[in-house]
Amino acid sequence: MSSRPRSPMARPMSFVWTRRIVLTLLGLFAALPVYVMLSTSLKPLQDVTDKFQWFPGSLTLRPYIDIWHTVPLAHYFMNSIVVSVAATGLSVLVAIFASYAVSRYHFRGKRIFTITVLSTQMFPGILFLLPLFLIFVNIGNVTGIALYGSRAGLIITYLTFSLPFSIWMLAGYMESIPRGLDEAALVDGCGPLGALFRVVIPAAVPGIVAVAVYAFMTAWSEVLFASVMTNNTTRTLAVGLRGYSTQYDVYWNQIMAASLVVSVPVVAGFLLLQRYLVTGLTAGAVK
């Protein structure tokens, strides 16, 4: 798919056998849980809570029907999509601006900026969860902008989670784009923004896609902040899926079915964009 094939060279048998064995083992390791997920989602709950069976004794599609009303899955899914997509879009946009400045300009305070932004990647979430929550509530009290409990609050929180890594990767990627290109645009009379939008961004697409995928995955999976900052109308999938484990019982088959259903679009998108991810990361992280 992505990496270009190496010129076929005769490989020694030791290499070929190592490859077969190692990749088979890794394949089993990766596939086993996915298989269990799939098979469990097709079993009635009775069978699931009994001794493990490799093959479903009785097949049922019932869990795939029940998932939609045990918890409001479609609603959570929409929330997750809205939050993740918006956080991704904004994060990428903000990162593009910042990384453009970092890669193309010298300015006082650049070092502090980069160090500060990168070090936020280290902050333990536990430390700033409660303060952040209080700040959101206070902003709401003072300005009337509801950040707590709203999707907007979650969106700006998540976008900053991916921002440090995104700025860093994109700045690296932009470094690899010859400066001559945007200088030419500047000479042609474009402003700095014109040069950014007409020349640098088109040239940085793989890097941008890589960053976008990363930002999306970050927002898509976050549990801790979502559990405190959402309510039943804004709850995201990452915490919503816990609804299948209730006061009564754990609906394992429905958990698996729901996880699979909501993951299909994401996994598909991820695999489609994988090619960009590889090239984007290449220049971003290495160059």
Partner: protein, 434 residues
């Protein structure tokens, strides 16, 4: 360097501003928005949606009666305490909410809940309407209650009649030594005498508390200081853990149960006995024939259940509280009155299989089936409320975890001795702070 200093100064200023802005949760509510209420219900049914369906018709009734619209949110137990915490620290929360009744004193200490003083009780129809034992778990002694009970529960000993018959046991055990003897007879061929929920902190705490009472011990002294590792509490914890460790009447695998697997095992006939609160509805849900199981009072050490060392259940249940920052205090109290009215108590507890917390509603014949009669008796005569101290949640966390670890030891075949129990409990006590 100057710039760094400037940056730090800037950040400090912003922080100071935010700091001053923090903790504005001091308002005491009022009646600014009399037409709506937000209600956080806890997850009592088999799913969040199930709760919604059970509660919505009642909320509509309330709206017809009073014109107040109730916005319902069913909060999963995994999130409830964190959400309450967030609400308390920010002042931004629901108007009315459900709390686990053991949390009452902890939440009372935050000052975030409206105290039910005489006037407030008068507004909801009086204090003496409630079952006295249920009222015992609504806050610290000598303080106005932080909540009122709405669903009451107690523990009972559920036993599988078929398995008892097959083992030639005529009656359910009345003392723990009988339970162990019977349990050993019942433990054979992949079946066990008893199912326990060994990795569930709350269950562990509830049982440890009752065993401690029966040994004449308490986890807190009168001044509210922890006394986790007294001979009585050690004996209590050991007696419970021994069901796996030395009596071996519960399966080792039970040590990792935390999600009602013990109820599932009982329903499937894998375990012959279960100590649970109002399990009837769940057992039905899990397809167990109602004729196959019976309920008996939870055993005692000797004699018969009663007060003192005859205590055989904790006061279990759910309380309803009003958030102090509510913008619709009158409406909130009307709602509390509605939810604790005889009619609603009968309807709601009927739906959930629990007991009404209001004496008059408890008389209703639907709460006199054999199961609920046993629980009702227990609640009335031989129940004690968990310690009503602010540190209760720390206690649940620390002692609950210590017991989970002891069960893990037992399951792995490591010996559980008086010394090892004492050591763990002592460590838990030393970790209490604040």
């Amino acid at each position: 360097m100057r710039r760094i200093t400037a940056a730090i100064a800037a950040i400090t200023t912003v922080t100071a501003l935010a700091g001053c802005g923090g903790g504005t949760a001091t308002g005491n509510g009022g009646n600014k928005s009399p037409k709506t209420l937000t209600y956080w219900a806890s997850n009592q049914g088999k799913s969040l949606d199930d709760d919604k369906q059970k509660l919505t018709p009642e909320l509509q009734k309330f709206e017809t009666q009073t014109g107040i619209h109730v916005k319902l949110e069913v909060v999963p137990w995994t999130d409830l305490l964190n959400r309450i915490l967030a609400a308390t620290s920010s002042g931004q929360g629901p108007d009315v909410l459900n709390i686990g009744n053991t949390w009452s004193a902890s939440l009372q200490a935050t000052g975030g809940l409206l105290p039910f003083d005489a006037a407030t009780f008068a507004a909801i129809g009086g204090k003496d309407r409630f079952v006295p034992s249920a009222l015992a778990s609504t806050g610290a002694a000598g303080k106005d209650p932080a909540a009122v009970p709405i669903y009451s529960l107690a523990y009972g000993l559920y036993y599988n009649k078929k398995l008892f018959k097959a083992a030639g046991i005529a009656n359910p055990p009345a003392t723990w030594s009988e339970l162990v003897t019977d349990g050993k007879k019942l433990t054979s061929g992949g079946k066990t005498g008893l199912a326990v929920e060994g990795a569930n902190n709350s269950e562990n705490i509830h049982h440890a508390f009752v065993f401690a009472k029966q040994h004449g011990a308490d986890f807190f002294d009168a001044a509210g200081n922890p006394t986790f590792a007294t001979p009585g509490t050690v004996a209590a914890v050991k007696q419970y853990v021994d069901f796996i460790a030395s009596d071996k009447i519960a399966a080792a695998g039970d040590a990792e149960y935390a999600q009602n697997q013990s109820v599932a095992d009982f329903a499937k006939g894998k375990a012959a006995m279960l100590l649970w609160q109002a399990a009837g509805v769940q057992l039905k849900e899990r397809g167990m024939n109602p004729d196959d199981w019976g309920v008996a009072p939870v055993p005692v050490q000797t004699g018969a259940p009663g007060s003192g060392t005859g205590v055989n259940t904790m006061v279990a249940g759910i309380n309803l509280a009003v958030f102090k920052n509510t913008q619709n205090r009158d409406g909130a109290l009307k709602f509390v009155k509605f939810m604790t009215s005889d009619d609603e108590q009968k309807i709601l507890n009927g739906k959930y299989g629990s007991l009404p917390s209001v004496s008059s509603a408890q008389q209703d014949p639907q709460f006199s089936n054999p199961e609920l009669t046993v629980l009702k008796e227990g609640l009335a005569k031989s129940a004690a409320a968990l310690p009503q101290v602010p540190k209760e949640s720390q206690f649940e966390e620390l002692v609950g975890t210590a017991m989970k670890d002891l069960f893990a030891d037992a399951a792995a075949g490591r010996p559980v001795t008086t010394e090892s129990v004492q050591k763990r409990l002592m460590k838990a006590q030393q970790q209490m702070q604040g």
